[in-house]
Each structure stands twice: as structure tokens, then as C-alpha cells.
Symmetry: C2
Subunit: 258 residues, 2 copies
């Protein structure tokens, strides 16, 4: 790549989130940056897209930095579709999503708007990385992870990352010197055990808040959960071919053929 | 299984959709049915869940049939979580989702609320099947596919389907006699090429409608797209471990280790 790479930046916490500001700062070191992000928080939106409603999009004024910025009324996946097919002059060389305020490791990848934006870019043929920090707070400290974000993004460009393998990167909430390095991992077989907090509105109507406990019974040392617990950055190659190829033979034995 | 199976029925088109009515009718032949479905259409919601807002849920009155029915304000995945963790007396033996008005074959599985509900059940340890008919119309004819829905569901129960392999079943829009049979397939490598239809509101504000064209360049005969085009029902085993295991070795060569 002779010219500076064209980088699409998006997220799911919304365009005003500190996490995307940190990501933009790093990407300005690497290439020409276009930001297309939701105009409001879209956490846990999974791979939702807007097909039964309209989308609004506005270019931001008074941006601090050289990047172009657009805010969009849709979901993270909508933002990526709109960026690539309508807003950008040419296809971006890479798409980065985040930095998410909170973990997208293990089964959380399924619910994650951050990762769905990255996966949408992959579906569109663009190499993509989702970045998440294990700190849910709005004022989480993104400084310690900036050098690693730069390193991983430059490596993805240099190694000509495949579009059909999207990188899911999670950072432990540690100081830069405490982070032990980067581990290539698989998604841990963990899940949430939900509880619903049942309450009553002032008018006496029942409603629920979803809460839950994250349970990881996958104790192997090749998982993202293990790496993060040990102080490593986890990097899980993630795909959007959901076929359970190993199950095809078994299903052929169910006797459906005429 | 000595007693009648307990069956959770859900969908993404909403509790009033003809597709879920057809599914309920078939499931009443097989077991004891509890319906927990969205109170409004939730197409293309992907695996969205509601974490920043509350959920409402009401049991339906004047139900036609022996099943219990609940409508819920959340997404398809919310409905499954609420059903399993709050509304049902015991874990269901199987969860069926649909019948969706429209295809969820190939890459559509990623955007599908129907399949995200089934996948959520799988994550919760419950065998699950998503059913979709390749006819988007509200008055689509579900009669021809009812015998096949019954056959596939009974086979899943008899063969003790694994919870970590969710079945994605799509039906061609054909008469019963024209359907050639059931094929076990992989997800075709196809995608949408989006176009945004840009319009102006009466007040002069720009907005967009997402449209697109489905492009399938995967011509192999083991895909869901091929099966459907040839008049077969496609059945794709689907997983929620998104790890691209084949890419781990390649990424280890990027030289991240300290």
C-alpha cells in the first residue's frame, strides 16, 4: 500500500463516547480517517439493521482533528453499510470498531454491536477489527491500550488481513506495563445465566430489568477468558460462516432423504 | 422422553403474524406449547438484547388453542431469555422460532431475528430450530410446509438434537407436492450489495432507505441457496462459536509474542 490507508472508524457506544475518541486518535497516526458512528448509544444491538424505518445522517462540524465525521441514526451495522455504500469516495482499506466500554469476549461477541459493525465490514469485503476494553465506565482509561491498538492495526495492514476473518480484540483493564502481551485465542465456551429483576411502575404495571451472571466453565488455556484473566490482550479470529460443518454428517443420518 | 415435550415457540415478525400461528398449530400436535413472542415486528434485529431499557410482558387472553401465550416488548432474544428464566415452570425440551415471512438462508442468518431467538435458546442449552419461508408477504401460504415442520421437529426430538448446533431451516415457496425433500447444507457464501435510496422529508431533510441486491457467486451444490433454487428444503446446522479456528495458526505468524 503506497498511499496512506483509508480507515473507517465506528462503534456502538455512539459518536460521543470516549472510547471512539481514543480510537480516532490512534488511527490518525496510521492513515486517513472517516468516522461514521451512531448518534446515540447502541450497546447490545447485535447485528440489527434498519429495514422498516428510515436513516438520517449528518456530517459533524467543528471536529477536533483531521478526520471526517458523520453521525447516523441507525445501528452499528447500518453505519458501516452507509459509510461504504454512500458516504465514502472509495472502499476503506480497513475498518476498526470501538473502543467498546466493556468486554466483548467469549459469548458476548454474539450480542456485541461493536463486533457486528466489524463483521459487517468483513461481509462487505473489508478487513476489520473490533476493540473492547474490560471497563464499562464512561471515564475508563484508554491511554494504556493505545500503543497496542496501533501495533495490532499496523500488523493487520502489513499482513494483509483477510476480510472473512474479523479480529475480536479485548484488553484487560490494566496499566500499560502490566499488560503481558497479545494472545491469539479461541472464544471461550461461557455464557450468561440471566436473572430478571421484576419491578412495578408508579402506575402498578409490572416490568423487568435484564441482569445476569457470567459463567465460564471452560478452563482451557487457549481461550480469550483465560488470556484476559492472566493479563494478556486476547485476539480471537472471528467468522461469519456460521455453518457447524462438523454436524453435517450426523444430520445426514437423521434419515430425511427421500 | 416419556411425557409430552414442552415446546417454546417464538418469532421475530411478532405474535400476531400468520407464520407463528402456523407454527403453533403444528407444535400443538407434538407437545405442550408456550408462546413468548414480540408484541411488534422485530425483523432484522439480529441478536439485539435490551440492557438499557425495561421489558414488559403480558399473558394473552382469549387464545385459540391449548397453548399459553405471552407477548413481550423486547427483541426475539429477549423473549427467549424471559421465557426460560422467568415465565416457564421448567426448561423447555425444544425451542422453535418462526415461521419467518422471508428467507434466512445464507448470510441472512447474521441479520435474522428468527435465528437469533433460536441461537439464544441454543446458548441457554436448549435444542432449537428456526423456520423460514421464502415468501415475504403477510398472506404467504404456510399450509404446504406444515407436514415438513412436523417431520423435522419430531426428528430433532427423536435424535436428541444437540443444543450447540442450531438448525436453520428454509422452505421454498412451493406447493407440498413440488417440494423435493430436505437437504443438509452449508451456508452459501453470498452477500447483499446495498444501495441507499436517498429522499427528502416534507421539511427538506435528507434521509435514506436501505435497499439492496442479493448476490450469490457460490455455485457449489452443497449450499442452502442451491438446495432452495432446486426445490429442496435447506437445513443448515448453525453454531455460536464464531472462532475461525483455521486462522489461528496464520495469526500466530504475525509475530505478536513478546
Amino acid at each position: 500500500m503506497s498511499q496512506r490507508p483509508l480507515i473507517l472508524v465506528t462503534n456502538d457506544d455512539g459518536i460521543t463516547a470516549p472510547g471512539i475518541r481514543a480510537l480516532i486518535q490512534v488511527m490518525n497516526l496510521i492513515g486517513d480517517v472517516v468516522v461514521v458512528a451512531p448518534d446515540s448509544p447502541q450497546s447490545a444491538m447485535g447485528h440489527a439493521i434498519t429495514i422498516n424505518s428510515t436513516l438520517h445522517c449528518n456530517q459533524m462540524k467543528n471536529v477536533v482533528g483531521p478526520q471526517k465525521e458523520y453521525q447516523c441514526s441507525g445501528t452499528p451495522a447500518d453505519c458501516v453499510k452507509l459509510a461504504i455504500n454512500e458516504l465514502m469516495d472509495r472502499k476503506p482499506d480497513i475498518c476498526v470498531s470501538g473502543v467498546n466500554h466493556g468486554s466483548n469476549s467469549s459469548i458476548n461477541v454474539v450480542y456485541s454491536g461493536t463486533m457486528s459493525a466489524a463483521i459487517e465490514a468483513g461481509i462487505q469485503g473489508i478487513p476489520a477489527i473490533g476493540f473492547s476494553l474490560l471497563d464499562y465506565r464512561w471515564d475508563a482509561d484508554f491511554e494504556p491500550i493505545k500503543p497496542f491498538i496501533e501495533k495490532i492495526t499496523r500488523a493487520a495492514i502489513k499482513n494483509e488481513q483477510r476480510a472473512d476473518v474479523v479480529l475480536n480484540v479485548n484488553f484487560p483493564a490494566l496499566e500499560e506495563g502490566e499488560i503481558k502481551g497479545i494472545r491469539i485465542c479461541r472464544q471461550a465456551k461461557a455464557n450468561w445465566v440471566e436473572k430478571f429483576d421484576k419491578r412495578q411502575s408508579p402506575l402498578g404495571r409490572d416490568y423487568y430489568w435484564l441482569t445476569g451472571e457470567f459463567i465460564n466453565e471452560d478452563k482451557c488455556q487457549d481461550t480469550d477468558e483465560w488470556a484476559l484473566k492472566e493479563g494478556y490482550i486476547s485476539l480471537v479470529p472471528t467468522q461469519f460462516d456460521l455453518t457447524a460443518h462438523h454436524a453435517i454428517q450426523e444430520l445426514n443420518n437423521w434419515g430425511f432423504e427421500k
